[in-house]
């Protein structure tokens, strides 16, 4: 018999209970067309996409011990954008879809809760939505049914968890927190910088490193400078780098399958030059980014979820303590986060009709400012999501890139602009 409910995956379970007014766990993936979006076509495209990926046709329900997804016959309605990006999806009761589809002018936005999937799963859904939308716009596209059958909704963490693998052992010190004042509840400022990948690639090449490492180093350098200017004491700068495990382990899951890798630069040890920062980050990433080390991070996550004490706690207790535990043992250990979804590629037939992709990171009270990176065609889009109205980090970051010779175009939703 086909089941009409799904369990949340290991990461999704943690995210589900940490949802609060400031921590929505919702991230946004947007795609911009060359023409204005037709809402009727978009609604039809969404319905077709949900038929094709039926595992997304679910609502979030409360169980006694965990949240779960229940299949539903209802279809979410696409709506025009009104609220700030990445606004909360859930209120008490939580009988809502764990995602929403929005449109504005030429832009289609898919806002997803991390309970359901991660960036990769979201991109696959969005690509299909765009394909189905463009079909309705009259674009002639070949059938892709075969390719879709490859996706599943399994918990890949369980599949790749090995009993004999020990937990991730590293301990992290409390990280430096940016002195930012929170804006009003529900307000989320995004600032996107559009730049050419090739230019950035050439600069990274000068430092003999990859684009991701270069961006991380640049960001770490800025955070070190901000700490030096604003704080008398020194604390480690730790940047959270979510890593897509699909690049290391065989799986076709559309659920979450990523781990957070911490990259730490400790200014207490002395002064770092930019080259020192790049070297330190390269070593840190090399240390973590192999299947053996990543298995220890998977083991930690799975064991945490399988802990009998945690499992036996009623959901209302989990809802109550999870935000505190997440803040104390999760967010407190990081200064900020950079999430790179990589280069998005579309079929040639689709590419002609799609101008750009954007990725907004989920807002979080522990890391008031986070960065999301996505690349499409020849351009890269770096978006800072900020819960504060302070623009210091964005300003310093983009000015540094301009100094290196990168041409940047800034777009923001800030009200004063």
């Amino acid at each position: 018999m086909e089941t009409d409910w799904y369990k949340l995956d290991s990461a999704g379970k943690l995210y589900a209970s940490t949802v609060s007014s400031r921590v929505s766990t919702v991230f946004r993936l947007s795609v911009s067309m060359y023409k204005s979006v037709n809402a009727v076509f978009l609604q039809e495209a969404l319905e077709e996409t949900l038929e094709e990926i039926s595992s997304f046709k679910v609502i979030v329900k409360r169980g006694v011990f965990w949240y779960y997804f229940e299949k539903t016959a209802t279809i979410p309605t696409v709506s025009e954008e009104h609220f700030y990006p990445c606004s909360n999806l859930f209120f008490r009761g939580r009988n809502t879809f764990p995602y929403r589809v929005l449109y504005y002018n030429k832009k289609i936005s898919l806002e997803l809760s991390h309970m359901l999937t991660d960036g990769t799963g979201g991109i696959e859904f969005l690509k299909l939505l765009v394909r189905n939308y463009l079909k309705r716009e009259g674009v002639n596209l070949p059938c892709i049914r075969k390719k879709l059958n490859g996706f599943n909704f399994d918990n890949a963490f369980f599949q790749h968890y090995e009993k004999q693998v020990p937990n991730w052992q590293d301990t992290l010190d409390k990280a430096y927190k940016l002195p930012l004042r929170l804006d009003k509840r529900g307000v989320y400022h995004v600032t996107t910088g559009k730049l050419e990948i090739q230019v950035l690639k050439n600069i990274a090449k000068q430092y003999q490193t990859s684009i991701t490492t270069y961006l991380l180093a640049l960001y770490a350098e800025i955070l070190i400078d901000i700490q030096a200017q604003n704080s008398k004491t020194r604390k480690p700068i730790t940047i959270n780098v979510p890593v897509n495990l699909r690049n290391f382990f065989e799986t076709n899951t559309l659920k979450n399958f990523f781990v957070s890798v911490p990259v730490t630069i400790d200014p207490r040890l002395g002064t770092y030059t930019f080259e020192d920062i790049i070297e330190t980050i390269s070593i840190e990433l090399k240390r973590y980014l192999n299947d053996k080390q990543l298995k220890t991070l998977i083991a930690r996550g799975v064991r945490g979820e399988r802990n009998f004490l945690l499992r036996s706690m009623p959901l209302f207790v989990k809802d109550w303590i999870s935000p505190m535990v997440h803040a104390r043992f999760g967010e407190n250990l990081y200064t900020s986060s950079i999430s790179n979804l990589g280069v998005i590629s579309l079929d040639d037939d689709l590419e002609k009709h799609v101008e750009r992709f954007e990725f907004y990171p989920p807002p979080s009270i522990g890391n008031k400012i986070k960065a999301g990176v996505i690349s499409y065609k020849d351009d890269m889009y770096i978006t800072f999501g900020n819960l504060s109205n302070d623009r210091l980090v964005e300003r310093t970051f983009f000015r540094k890139l301009v100094k290196e010779g990168v041409q940047i175009k800034i777009e923001t939703n800030r009200s004063a602009y």
């Binding site: 504005y104 529900g186 600032t191 910088g193 301009v402 175009k409 800034i410 777009e411 939703n413």
Partner: protein
Amino acid sequence: MAYCPKCGVSVEKDQVPCPLCFTYIPKIVSDEELLDENGFPTYYSLYENLVNFFIRVVYRVLCVLMILGFLIPTLIDVILNKALTWSLYSNLSILITWSFLYVAFDYVKGKRDKIIVILITICVGLLGFDLINGYAGWSVETAFPLLVITLILIQINIAIFKRNRSWFRQSGYIIFSILLLLIGIELIVGRYSNTDNIVFHSVDELLPSTLLGAILLLISYRMPKKWVEKLKRKFHI
């Protein structure tokens, strides 16, 4: 394309401050180019609406309670005494409270307007209580002058604090202000009650408070730097 000379980045719009550094960007982009941009809609916070809705509900509930508080005592008073007697006091109190709540729930916008509404409410309240009591004149002769003295003293203290921002110095001024207020109260109340020999009870407090206030002001204005350093050295935390 519009461009910020300070940050070196291109921006979507001109004739607005740079989104990163607030430097004003002059008109460069044509209106057609602006129309071509995708841009952002005017965003609203999901919670702002909820909080406002909740505040409005609380205010309405309080309004209903106050209407009941207005009607029930009036009815009881009329039934028992066949006239409006003590209920006039409670009704006026409710009206004053209503006015304060109207300001507190942010229905009056602007700091200046809020202060004006509060002051008018206080004056009307004082005069009203006096009139209900059969007009003895205490509102005009006593309450209003005292209100004016208090407001002047508060205003002076705020002005001094804004200039100096030193709590040590301000403490001295606050002590002197309280002393002046006490003298004022005794003078005005004594005059109102037609006492021939006004006994200044505040004289008892005059010496210690003048001494303390003077010491505080003297220290803050006239203390030699050498002594300040010595004190800092001994008492630094």
